[in-house]
């Protein structure tokens, strides 16, 4: 592609290193419209952006055309392409989107990509969404507290009744109830701990949303 055709145009900082395409800086609201394009060429004006709520855990996607990379980063670029049918692709860990675009000579086709708010690649069929509420939150809900108090009362009363039926004194009954209560508390604690640990470990391994 001869340089004189693109005089005055500025290569974008967002060009993917080694891209076979000419990727220009682009201001969609700029004066004078798109820059002059080489004969027989048009362009795809790609705008990639990320919702503020997702910026903490989302990195920029790579945009490519016809299987080759073009740009990497958030913002506006203009990918110069020969007129014809092209496939514009976005990759971020996984294939995110692929759309067919028809480019005509001298025309610029706008394409927009917005990251998902939760920033999780969702292309995998059957991939599970991250939990909205943690297991911890559920285990220590008011309903859970009420259940624990009720269960303790039931154990206490049942122990007393059993001790009376067996003809034991109140002192011995107290010891029996205490032993049973401690055993229930330990088993319950272990169950809650395992309940919390198992899904947390799995989601950490599967997570792709905070790559470093």
């Amino acid at each position: 592609m001869p340089d004189r055709d693109l005089t005055g145009d500025v290569d974008s900082d967002l060009v993917y290193a080694g891209s076979p395409y000419r990727v220009l800086a682009h201001d969609p609201n700029g004066e004078g419209g798109p820059p002059p394009l080489p004969a027989g060429h048009g362009g795809v004006a790609v705008h990639t952006w990320c919702p503020p709520a997702a910026q903490r855990h989302t990195l920029a996607p790579i945009v490519g055309v016809d299987g080759e990379p073009a740009s990497y980063g958030w913002g506006h670029v203009l990918i110069v392409l020969p007129a014809g049918e092209h496939l514009v692709e976005v990759q971020y860990v996984e294939p995110m989107r692929t759309i067919p675009v028809t480019v005509t000579a001298g025309q610029v086709v706008p394409v927009e990509y917005a990251a998902a708010r939760d920033g999780v690649p969702a292309g995998a069929p059957g991939r599970r969404r991250p939990r909205r509420r943690s297991r911890r939150g559920r285990a220590f809900s008011p309903v859970g507290y009420a259940g624990v108090v009720l269960a303790a009362l039931v154990v206490f009363e049942a122990g007393l009744a059993l001790a009376r039926a067996a003809g034991l004194s109140v002192g011995v009954a107290g010891v029996v109830v205490g032993v049973v209560a401690v055993a229930v508390a330990v088993l319950g604690g272990v169950a809650v701990y395992r309940h919390q640990q198992r899904p947390a470990r799995r989601s950490r391994r599967r997570s792709t949303r905070t790559p470093r």
Binding site: L59, I62, Q91, P95, R97, A124
Partner: protein, 141 residues
């Protein structure tokens, strides 16, 4: 190839449905191509760290049907084929093949899934090699 040979069709993102009904005397295979990718940081032949691959472009899959190159991308594609047995092979990024019995008027769905691991040096600067595994499976309707 005759003039009325139907062309492969791009199906877009999705599960490989939505392709056309094959013309008379033809069947079809629809395939969805998908990958997930990660980077392993290697020092002295040992993986010392790993991360998701958010910055390295993954080239398109290379597909051959009965030894003939056909178009493909990381999305869904529909390929018209004559009824009978056909050999479907993906060469890149990782090899996987399947023998498909195509019936007239029907579209068999396939799913290609590649797990790509890119090995880089421990400074995360130079790519050492690509290690990928893949599966090509029929999808039940």
């Amino acid at each position: 190839m005759t003039a009325d040979t139907p062309e492969p069709r791009f199906l877009g993102d999705g599960d490989g449905t939505g392709g056309p009904v094959p013309p008379d005397g033809w069947g079809a295979v629809a395939c969805v191509f998908w990958f997930t990718s990660a980077v392993d940081l290697v020092r002295a032949d040992r993986v010392v760290n790993d991360r998701s691959n958010y910055d390295i472009w993954v080239p398109r899959p290379v597909l051959r049907v009965d030894g003939r190159d056909v178009p493909a991308s990381w999305s869904g594609w529909w390929y018209p084929l004559r009824p009978g047995p056909h050999q479907v092979e993906v060469l890149e990024p990782a090899p996987a093949g399947l023998r498909v019995q195509v019936t007239a008027g029907a579209t068999d769905r396939l799913r290609y899934r590649a797990r790509i691991r890119i090995r880089k040096d421990h400074t995360d600067t130079h790519i050492l090699e690509w290690r990928s595994t893949a599966t090509l499976d029929p999808v039940a309707d």
